[in-house]
Symmetry: C2
Subunit: 292 residues, 2 copies
């Protein structure tokens, strides 16, 4: 393996799990990330502002962000209304979520996994007709906080269903940080996604990525600075920090297109913006090549 | 691989890198760890109190700690005087350090690596005559903050020398957290230690251990709660947290003899004792098997 594709998710998944910040700051974060060499950015989600106030200004953020022609920007949507907003805003990569755990899907989306799959089946043609692609993110793929490990065959069944319904890409989400190297092997031996989204909740973030690399996965989500951990649980971390992922990959001789030094600068700016210590060792210590 | 041997280093390596705590608290930490099922504990170091005030009460700590016959306790020593104190205190496992980097050895020990190797050669018979064993910890094995990566052949040469001089065991120390999966493979393809000591400074702690497991290493140091990070650099972490290591290993079906729930309780007690948030995700979030 000589290269890996990183999707930077701090502007959407990261900020959605932090205290709200001003619109200007969101635009500045997207613009700064666009200058790091990263080739994919999850920019915003089009959700109801009462459900997720952090994304209430998604239209304005996206209209003001500088779009680089070589970067693929994506938006998350929960339903038809969200899809219409994302398409009207010009997005050509749309993400939608379904949970592998029925209990989690009901708690999160107030319907069964099967009902959500039906919703996705009706969303896909709408999005395709507008010339955009659909990525289905299968949440709780690596474990559910209510049900524990989900049978890999059940995850595989969901993947088969959404592929049959026209999904262009599949991502597996490590929703509450239950992924481990063992679980990654168990799941990926049954079914392969296009992209993996790991958390570092229990310290295994990079070990999970290492395991997935060995199994041939080449696309990963990551969040600069590890943005997205719950600020009310000090030390708890959500998304893997992009600079920690890139640092390990570059050390292995795997290209990401990203300028690590620039990325670390953006992480530092994000830390000041959020006003809390971000859970990123590489932000704190710098890369191993930075000698005294 | 069905089992891994963990050496718990919080009482020595951990506390040596924290603000000093009372003697009672040190004794309580050792006693609590002895009840977790861990089979090896690095208990104290016998160093000059002016150099390392955190270990000034090593004799008292050790005399008051409850010794479990099934646990191997070890002590670190810097010189003949330290060795005499450790042996007089009853230790039968002695550790001594030399740095693979000449620059680091001079800064740390005020002599060349070669001079330190001569010192070790004269210490080994002294320790053996008292019926104890000697472990040589090769510091900066995974990288030196002054010199960068040390040639694996140089590390191999140091290992050959100390083995010829009678060292019973070899450990490789990741002194400033420069180990990565790539460096672990590079170094271990040249020379094998008995035990590995990783830090989690740049997020790769568990990824390094995973890599070493794949290469057949079965002995690792770890520090409960990740104790040992510099308290002046928030978020920076030193030693890998024992509960994070044990959590990943048990999930892989690898036995450690350790009761993870009890270990997490000890980490929580240690956090209160030190009065700072410890860098351990498993302490914060609990094991992945703890469902809602």
């Amino acid at each position: 393996m000589t290269s890996v594709s990183i999707r930077e998710v701090a502007p959407r998944d990261g900020l959605q799990n932090e205290e709200p910040i001003p619109t200007d700051a969101k635009v500045a974060l997207i613009d700064a990330l666009s200058e790091t060499g990263v080739r994919r950015i999850e920019a915003v989600s089009f959700v109801h502002p009462k459900a997720i106030p952090q994304m209430a200004d998604a239209d304005e953020v996206w209209s003001r962000a500088r779009k680089h022609p070589e970067i693929r920007y994506s938006a998350l949507i929960p339903n038809t209304r969200g899809a219409q907003r994302a398409l009207a805003a010009g997005f050509r990569e749309i993400e939608v979520v379904v949970s592998a755990s029925d209990t989690h899907n009901r708690r999160n989306l107030n319907r069964s996994t099967g009902e959500s799959l039906d919703d996705i089946a009706s969303l896909v043609p709408l999005i395709h007709e507008a010339g955009a692609t659909v990525e289905v993110i299968v949440a709780t793929s690596f474990g559910c906080p209510f049900e524990g490990d989900i049978d890999p065959d059940r995850v595989a069944g969901i993947v088969s269903r959404v592929r049959a319904d026209g999904a262009d890409r599949i991502a597996f989400g490590d929703t509450t940080g239950m992924a481990t190297p063992r679980r990654v092997r168990d799941l990926l031996s049954a079914v392969r996604p296009d992209l993996l989204h790991f958390h570092n909740t229990r310290g295994t973030g990079l070990a999970n990525i290492l395991t997935a690399l060995e199994l041939g996965v080449t696309e990963f989500d990551a969040s600069v600075g590890g943005i997205g951990g719950c600020p009310y649980a000090p030390g708890a971390s959500g998304n893997v920090a992009t600079e920690e992922v890139v640092h390990m990959l570059h050390d292995m001789g795997i290209d990401t297109g990203i300028d690590l030094d620039r990325l670390i600068e953006v992480a530092g700016e994000a830390e000041k913006l959020l006003g809390r210590t971000l859970p990123s060792g590489v932000l704190r210590a710098g890369p191993r090549t930075r000698l005294v």
